[in-house]
């Protein structure tokens, strides 16, 4: 029985006991996965060292797949906490089982930031190039409208942007986990209790603490959202688009931002399914979580197409020589098969999957569509960044791409880096899931208290309390 006297699926205490019990032990399958992803991560580091030694940092082409992987991580793991942020802001009650699963991806941001640093050596200064920074050389060669010189553009400012993005993600995770750390402090044992003592930072659960906590989570969430859009925008422009002469697309950053929202949600939904399936957590993760997410995922998939189409149609009808070269490079030339596959996996496959009500209202349909989207994003970033990085250094200040570079096929080192980086992200997530409970316990217990199953005529229905 629920403490309110109504029938409930699980009580607060049963839930807390269950989560703490699971959190205290690491199963053999989990341990095995940590070993596999850890070893693949080490292999990725070896690949990075090999690439640095054999190719150096003078040419960008050998680093195309590495840059694509950084973009993939920003768009998927980096964007995942936005699910927790957005659903908290709109006070969606079905969010509770998935918020921590989403915001734990904040820890992967540290890996992304570290991976971003080598790219700084590959991208030239903004001076004398057509970039977002409108920065000319002295004497002027571009005829720009001002003679403003921004020191360190774009390197210092994009680094600051990504560092702040990672900082705000970690602050959000740290703050949101604080009440749960108090539970570990009080009820776990050994190192976990000591960890909880340190991380709960004197949490008692007073009304003042709860008020400040909720306002703080909301404020950091809003700042996270702004930083996510800024990070995706600056990275895709300064470390992608401006490396290709003649590629001037005002919609590109917006399309990449929508892609990040789509990727963040897809990452969360797929992780939710994996946690439910292999963690045997069907009791807490229901069809309603997938159903709720699937509707947003469908909308974002349609938006992806809308933004892509809006950008594409300008180039397609413009048909200027520079625009034709960009279309050749990114879509119909050396990367056409990658483009077709990316289009299929980012739009057609998830759209056709999520179109059906029966599939949306299932526990397998939305994760399947999410898997399609993640494959699509990896392919999409590959065709964008590998293509952009294949443009030689001496051509990036030209007005248009005179000669489309041939396909840059991945070699073994590229594969090591891509697989290693993605495995590294999974490894970091697995490690964090051992020290922070995979459920936001304070949100779940609040949800249990606000939710009751009551008889209604000859059936039962859920009654939900909405305090605000």
């Amino acid at each position: 029985m629920h403490s309110n006297g109504h029938l409930a699926e699980v009580t607060e205490e049963e839930f807390t006991q269950d989560v703490l019990g699971r959190h205290a032990t690491t199963g053999p399958r989990y341990r095995r996965l940590m070993w596999i992803t850890g070893l693949l991560f080490v292999m990725g580091i070896a690949g990075f060292v090999l690439r640095a030694v054999t190719s150096g940092f003078d040419e960008r082409e050998p680093w195309g797949y590495f840059a694509a992987t950084v973009a993939f991580l920003i768009t998927t793991a980096g964007a995942a906490p936005v699910v927790a942020v957005a659903l908290r802001l709109v006070k969606a009650h079905w969010r509770r089982a998935m918020t921590r699963i989403a915001e734990m991806y904040a820890a992967v941001g540290v890996l992304t930031l570290l991976m971003f640093i080598p790219l700084l050596f590959l991208v030239p200064s903004a001076a004398g190039r057509r970039t977002l920074w409108f920065q000319d050389t002295d004497p002027p060669t571009l005829g720009l409208h001002s003679s403003l010189i921004i020191p360190g553009a774009p390197h210092v400012w994009v680094t600051l942007q990504i560092a702040l993005f990672v900082l705000v993600s970690l602050a959000l995770l740290r703050l949101s986990a604080r009440p749960d750390m108090a539970v570990l402090r009080a009820r776990a044992s050994g190192r976990l209790a000591a960890w909880g003592r340190r991380m709960s930072a004197g949490w008692l659960g007073t009304q003042k603490q709860w008020t400040v906590f909720q306002v703080g989570v909301g404020a950091l969430g809003a700042l996270f959202f702004i930083m996510l859009i800024g990070t995706v925008t600056l990275y895709c422009i300064d470390f992608g688009m401006t490396l290709v002469p003649g590629w001037r697309d005002s919609i590109f950053a917006a399309q990449q931002s929508v892609n990040a929202l789509q990727g963040g949600l897809a990452t969360t939904v797929l992780t939710l399914w994996l946690v439910r399936r292999y963690g045997k957590l069907e009791k807490y993760i229901h069809m309603e979580h997938f159903w709720g997410a699937s509707k947003i995922l469908l909308a974002l998939t349609l938006l992806w197409f809308y933004f892509w189409w809006s950008a594409f149609i300008i180039f397609w009808y413009g048909r200027q020589p520079a625009e034709q070269a960009v279309l050749q490079l990114l879509m119909f030339g050396p990367y056409r098969y990658v483009f077709i596959l990316a289009f299929v996996f980012c739009f057609i496959a998830p759209f056709l999957t999520l179109l059906w009500n029966g599939v949306r209202r299932s526990t397998w349909g939305p994760p399947l569509a999410s898997a399609f989207i993640l494959i699509g994003i990896l392919l999409d970033k590959t065709r964008l960044y590998v293509a952009a990085y294949s443009v030689p250094n001496d051509e990036i200040t030209a007005h248009l791409l005179e000669k489309v570079p041939p396909t840059n096929y991945p070699d073994i080192i590229d594969l090591m880096m891509v697989v290693g980086a993605i495995s590294g992200a999974v490894f970091v997530y697995l490690v964090v899931a051992r020290v922070i409970p995979v459920f936001s316990m304070w949100e779940m217990t609040e949800g249990i208290r606000l939710r009751a199953v009551r008889p209604f005529l000859k059936t039962k229905m859920v009654v939900l309390g909405k305090p605000d």
Binding site: E13, S146, S147, A201, L204, Q207, V215, L220, T445
Partner: protein
Amino acid sequence: MVQILGLFKQAEVAANATEALQQAGYTNQQFELLTDHPYPDGAFGERVTKHRLYVFPFIGALLGFSVALLLTTATQAAYPMVTGGKPILGLPPMIIIAYEGTMLGAILFTVLGIFFESRIPNFKAGIYDPRITEGYIGITLDCATERVNAVEQVLRRAGAEDVLTKE
């Protein structure tokens, strides 16, 4: 002064206990509720909590914006190099740096604000019991040593399962 903590298994009983405390002469400014998850404001008849956290991001954003504007404007003004007769300042790159400065200030001040409003680090830990993490509601208040027994009686009569004290 002695810290007293009454523990209640049922939220409804704890809500009634705050009334009993008020009837015994304590105002809702003097007692504090401890819970394992957030309850709606006023659910226990407790005082409305005040905070100034919302001010911090705005102050930080304003400072960050000002510093960014100063950085981009003052450095160019200090060493003006007119090239090709074009104006010294260009808005597009200034907007990017102003945005980053604004966000830097807003994020740092929000984090500082959370620390400040949550009184972290708190070296004087208040009275606490692990049962609060099991869903128990705690009512805590400070009172003079000679009134401890009376307050304990009030809390027990109101349905407290346990009453703890700390000097």
